[in-house]
């Protein structure tokens, strides 16, 4: 019986070799992909075990971690309630993370490449690893003004410094209190998430960057830019301005807001923008063609899914292959055109900056735990949207809108404001979205802003961009200029 016993011993040895190979496979070969599986909560636990870096606004922490005596080790907490939630996002044991907590995670956990030396030093000196601090570009006064302006209305505000692309304010309402999600009581965190996820107005999603809307008349800035860039038009070019415009190939028509005329027919391009004349811009769009409009829109940043600030941003859309009637509708920001509030702020910012569109960003610096700057965002040119001449012409036209047009509610004593209103039909029977985008001071711009109040907000069907959105933009501009 020894022969089969010896063979059995070989089989047993082989079984153990197989086990060793299998273990090696899991613990060495597959380890990386297993560690990165989104269902692997260990990654989160490991992060909780280290001090996560704070998120700073003007030197004050709006999100920070403090040691607590439980299984996770550190508790994330947020100050200011929902004031900063659009930027910080949340960091939760149960539901992961969002916005800056997600986008800047490597820096906050101290795992980022730029923190390699800090990490290596911590390892050598036995220091407990700490995450880096992320300092944002936000301006507290502007953020507060935007949040107050929106109040209980659903909508968003984005303010950008035109010369750099720094985001000064980023607000989406309704917001949420990230503390309810950051609690280590998993049942409470789960319940809070379910409630927010199901709540009216999607508080967990940023309207400013993750929601696209019909931009309405604010898109006329793009159409006007395309016209000026074509070389065939100047602000003084007379254009037809009928009460209603028959659309080719269809029985439908485009009319003006309120159903009347635009004050003159023909009307100059500058006056058409000033009073936001639909029929003029619809005809202009058809004359320019959808390709010219799309090219101009893309130079302002439309159709670019790669933009991050560093949070991900939904691409604004100007679609392909439009026929004449859809081109006409799109030229006045209806039909198939979709834009995020961030996108419309970028349009104003580019015009304000002489046509140079700077890449918007919200992270100014990353500092290691010993306050050593490890990363600083340098302003970066995203594209040249229009020539300086076109930018200047558009600026003057926008000044007219605020001085003597549909945007007079944004006037600020002693400051020349350039703006454009928008009242976007939403297709259904709901009230239109109220838009306003602007920059100021017109001759030396320090801030460009875009505001949307969904479905007219508290003004309902009576809402126009000039009436509802412009005052919010005004208070944000004042907050920036007053600082």
């Amino acid at each position: 019986m020894n022969t089969p016993l010896r063979r059995l011993a070989t089989v047993v040895l082989a079984m153990f070799v197989v086990l060793m190979a299998g273990t090696t496979w899991v613990q060495y070969v597959q380890a990386d992909s297993l560690n990165n599986d989104p269902r692997n909560v260990r990654t989160l636990y490991r992060e909780f075990g280290n001090a996560r870096g704070p998120i700073l606004v003007a030197g004050e922490a709006v999100a920070s971690s403090a040691p607590v005596d439980d299984a996770f080790g550190y508790q994330r907490s947020y100050t200011g309630g929902d004031l900063w939630s659009t930027v910080t996002g949340y960091y939760s044991v149960v539901n992961g993370r969002s916005e800056l907590e997600l986008a800047a995670n490597d820096a906050l956990t101290g795992r980022g490449d730029q923190l390699f030396f800090t990490r290596a030093r911590d390892l050598l000196t036995g220091r407990r690893p700490e995450g880096a601090a992320v300092e944002t570009t936000l301006l507290p006064a502007a953020q507060q003004a935007a949040r107050d302006g929106l109040g209980g209305q659903e909508g968003a505000v984005v303010a950008i410094e035109p010369s750099t692309g720094k985001i000064l304010a980023l607000v989406s309402t309704p917001g949420f209190d990230p503390n309810t999600l950051a609690t280590h009581d998993t049942a409470a965190a789960g319940a809070a998430f379910s409630e927010l996820d199901a709540a009216e107005g999607n508080p967990l999603r940023s309207n400013a960057t993750r929601e696209t809307y019909p931009p309405g008349s604010t898109f006329k800035l793009v159409t006007a830019a395309a016209a000026l860039e074509s070389g065939a038009y100047t602000p003084q070019t007379p254009l037809p301005a009928p009460v209603t415009l028959d659309l080719p190939q269809t029985t439908s028509t485009i009319g003006n807001f309120g159903g009347g005329g635009c004050g003159a027919d023909p009307i100059t391009l500058a006056d058409a923008l000033r009073v936001s004349c639909n029929t003029t811009f619809a005809q202009l769009g058809m004359d320019l063609g959808d390709d010219a409009l799309r090219t101009q829109a893309e130079r302002f940043g439309f159709n670019d899914p790669s933009l991050t600030i560093p949070m991900e941003v939904d691409a604004s859309v100007f679609p392909e292959d439009l026929d004449a009637p859809t081109t006409a509708g799109s030229a006045i920001g209806q039909r198939d055109v979709r834009a995020t509030p961030l996108q419309m702020a970028m349009v104003s910012a580019a015009i304000a900056n002489g046509g140079q569109l700077m890449k918007p960003y919200v992270v100014q610096t990353v500092r290691s735990a010993d306050l050593h700057t490890v990363d600083e965002t340098e302003p970066e040119l995203l594209s040249t949207a229009v020539s300086p001449g076109t930018a200047a012409a558009l600026r003057d036209m926008m000044v007219g809108v605020v001085a003597d047009g549909s945007g007079t509610a944004a006037q600020i004593p002693g400051v020349q404001v350039a703006g454009k209103t928008g009242t976007a039909q939403t297709g259904d029977d709901e009230a239109p979205h109220a838009w306003f985008t602007a920059f100021a001071p017109a001759d030396a711009p320090r801030v460009a802003v875009a505001v949307i109040v969904e479905h007219g907000g508290s003004a309902g069907n009576e809402a126009t961009g000039g009436r509802v959105a412009a005052p919010i933009a005004k208070s944000v501009i004042q907050a920036v200029l007053g600082s």
């Binding site: 059995l8 047993v12 899991v26």
Partner: protein, 490 residues
């Protein structure tokens, strides 16, 4: 057959003591490191704990010196090391459970079971002076095995836990009878096969080049096998079913030396498994989990989802090459971290390095057992030692293979490491039996007896121990003693 040739044999008790101290050092260091890793200080009771563990191990060592001086010196230290590391891990998981306010206290109970198990193993060595005594109870063993396997099906005392009806609970004390069934079944198989091995191997029709046994020789074995499998299907315990089946095939192969048994066995099992997978949803689910554990749908499914397996894999991956260190991982994130998935817990905190070391311990333990089987001179001892050693190896393979996704997951405990009284008791009894048989195997044969004499049937060891020890005075027909002796000469 080098072992029957006369040469000086070192009893090896000194070596054993040295290895024991190493095993104890590992166990106690593990315990102390858990305290350091979790609370930053050595547990207050480390001295008492170490003293208790040392007392148990040294007592067992002394019993060996007294009752089995030639026993294999490696088996006991390996068992102590595995048991001690398991205890440290269970203690560590207790701390994690307590932090999360989950039911804990496994370590204390496991320590109690360890003490009881070692005492029982010592008793086996003291009371069982010659393993061949067990051969008298061949058919008793068969009946006991059947009763044990059927016990969980008895109403009132039988309990279904986590889908498998493998528990018996009487007055607050629960046990898994299948753990003991494997030992008594090994006794039965060894006793039966050693008597019938020639007829099983040689008589019977030849079909397609395979030597098939005669049905009447096969009868009792088939009955045991069929009944145990039938009951196991009713109990939904795939692990034990696989284990007993593996034991059965391996012992049949050792006895008959016929490869046909392996072929028939594999065919039967693959067929049975395929049928079970289609007929029983819970078996089919295990295959789904094995093949596609990362599918979200299968991951989320409850019951029968891959959540536990995948979390175990996450734990192993977190350990990586060198592990997180005692007390620094999160083994408690895996369900049943202290029992079914203790391999994942150990893999997380001790890393690939630690897990490979543990697997090497098992390799050494089982190969030592098989070495004992090769060395011992009587057929019954060979079969029993071979069967017991194999069952430990196979159980380890099924558990570790399941956790690392080499084979589908079945519910079995990792010998010595996992929390569980029945498992610990049964495995320590196996160790005691292997030690007892290895004493016989390594005991030097008297020089005069090393040359075969005409009285061929006389047991070779008759001169070395008292006849009262239970050695059959006259081998029954079909015993393998003559064959073995002739085989040894060739």
């Amino acid at each position: 057959m080098a072992t029957v040739q006369p040469h000086p044999v070192r009893a090896g008790r000194g070596v054993e003591l040295g290895l024991l101290l190493l095993a104890l050092a590992l166990s106690i260091a593990g315990y102390a490191l858990v305290g350091l890793g979790t609370e930053g200080r050595v547990p207050a009771d480390v001295l008492g704990y170490g003293a208790g563990l040392t007392a148990l191990a040294v007592a067992m060592h002394l019993v060996l010196r007294w009752r089995a001086p030639f026993a294999d010196p490696v088996i006991l230290p390996v068992a102590v090391a595995l048991n001690g590391i398991g205890l440290a891990m269970i203690y560590r998981i207790d701390i994690a459970y307590e932090a999360r306010e989950k039911a804990a206290g496994f370590a204390e109970r496991q320590l109690g079971w360890t003490a009881i198990s070692v005492v029982l193993a010592a008793l086996v060595l003291v009371l069982l002076r010659d393993h061949r005594t067990l051969r008298r109870y061949t058919y008793t063993a068969m009946v006991v095995a059947l009763v044990l396997v059927a016990l969980p099906l008895v109403p009132v005392i039988g309990q279904q836990i986590n889908g498998a009806r493998i528990w018996v609970r009487v007055g607050g004390v629960g046990m898994q009878p299948a753990e003991f069934a494997k030992i008594v079944l090994a006794v039965f198989f060894a006793g039966y096969l050693v008597t019938h091995r020639d007829t099983l191997a040689l008589a019977g029709p030849k079909v397609l080049g395979l030597q098939l046994p005669r049905l009447r020789d096969l009868g009792p074995i088939l009955i045991v096998w069929a009944v145990s499998l039938a009951v196991l299907v009713l109990e939904r315990d795939l692990g034990t079913s696989l284990l007993l089946f593996g034991l059965f095939v391996a012992m049949l192969y050792i006895a008959t030396e016929r490869l046909s048994w392996i072929v028939i066995g594999m065919a039967l099992f693959v067929g049975g498994a395929a049928m079970a997978a289609t007929a029983f949803p819970h078996v089919g689910a295990r295959f789904d989990v094995w093949l596609h554990p990362f599918d979200q749908e299968i991951f989320d499914r409850s019951p029968g989802g891959s959540g536990q397996l995948v979390r175990g894999l996450f734990g192993l991956a977190n350990g990586g090459l060198f592990g997180t260190g005692w007390g620094s991982g999160r083994p408690d994130l895996v369900p049943f971290a202290e029992s079914d998935f203790i391999v994942a817990s150990l893999g997380e905190e001790l890393g690939l390095t630690g897990l490979l070391a543990l697997l090497l311990c098992y390799t050494i333990l089982t190969e030592r057992g098989l070495r004992t089987a090769i060395g011992v001179r009587d057929g019954f001892g060979k079969l029993l030692a071979g069967g017991l050693a194999f069952v430990v190896a196979f159980q380890t393979f099924v558990v570790v293979g399941g956790v690392t996704r080499i084979i589908p997951l079945t519910g079995l405990t990792t010998p010595f490491l996992a929390y569980g009284g029945s498992s610990l008791l049964a495995n320590w009894v196996i160790v005691a039996l292997l030690l007892r048989i290895s004493d016989e195997a390594r005991r030097p044969a008297p020089v005069v007896r090393a040359v075969p004499t005409p009285e061929i049937g006389t047991p070779v060891t008759a001169g070395t121990r008292s006849p009262a020890a239970g050695t059959p005075a006259v081998p029954s027909p079909g015993d393998d003693q003559p064959t073995q002796r002739i085989g040894g000469l060739s």
